[in-house]
Symmetry: C2
């Protein structure tokens, strides 16, 4: 399927998330200062916070915390994919960090809808599972994860059951 | 098994991670200011950044980004569980946010070793799978996830094969 463009966030309903849709989510570039700032607070391991130890280690330099890579993806996922003021996600299957992310890398998230159905317990919502993939400037996959989101149905569609 | 205490981070080897070991990882209290600061940068959804919309929503107030809950857990996991200067984790199975985390909550991570074995491809390492559970001040489970970590074997143990 060609790249799918969603309406503005306030107009996104379950019907806008067909299985197979691929949504491009812009891009973001990571600076070394931001890498260090995140890691010092949220993931203080030498490969993320200590330039000298990171250079002596297996990656030959600082790499971003995997959680930071997710934190860089999320604002783009919120802007380009999620409905405005949606529900909290109950969980994530299978987070994978495929390659290191380094200072200066540009990250490009892409989302593919895997499953889209009406919720049995809450028929005003749909349950949408997707695959989020984040690529770097060389088009190498650096991160993938599989969130499940609750997405509202358009009120008139939900009323028809 | 009773709560297991690991040696200091620089002296942790595979042998210190037996299956069934339960490691208490201290605690941390979340302020509203910190909740908002994280969410504005890394997860800007109304339930995490907009007090008025959050109060009108299903949780009746601001809740922390689930990624922030992980970011609060990680420094404690690094300090109390991981070996110093370890390897990057390849991935996580099954992240679950069981209950909302709110300003003022105190979070207490606990780690249980699920599997511990010598790596076949890299026999100087062990592959250790664990369950991380984070409880709040009411002992309610708010977060669980299942990381896999590569943990070095003590050099003399690794030399014996």
């Amino acid at each position: 399927m060609a790249t799918h463009t969603l309406p503005p966030a306030t107009e996104r309903w379950l019907e806008h998330y067909p299985v197979g849709a691929v949504v491009a989510c812009g891009s973001v570039t990571l600076s070394e200062a931001e890498l260090l700032e995140f890691a010092e607070r949220y993931d203080p391991q030498p490969m993320h916070v200590d330039r000298a130890m990171a250079e002596a280690g297996p990656f030959g330099g600082l790499i971003a915390s995997g959680w930071h890579t997710i934190g860089l993806m999320m604002p783009l996922f919120v802007e380009h994919y999620l409905p405005f003021n949606g529900m909290a996600a109950p969980g994530i299957e299978e987070v994978r960090w495929h390659r290191p992310v380094r200072p200066g890398d540009t990250l490009r998230p892409q989302v593919t809808v895997l499953e889209s159905r009406v919720s049995q317990s809450r028929p005003e919502f749909g349950v949408v599972r997707c695959l989020v993939e984040v690529f770097n400037q060389k088009d190498e996959l650096v991160l993938s994860l599989r969130p499940t989101n609750l997405i509202r149905r358009r009120p008139d569609a939900a009323a028809q059951g």
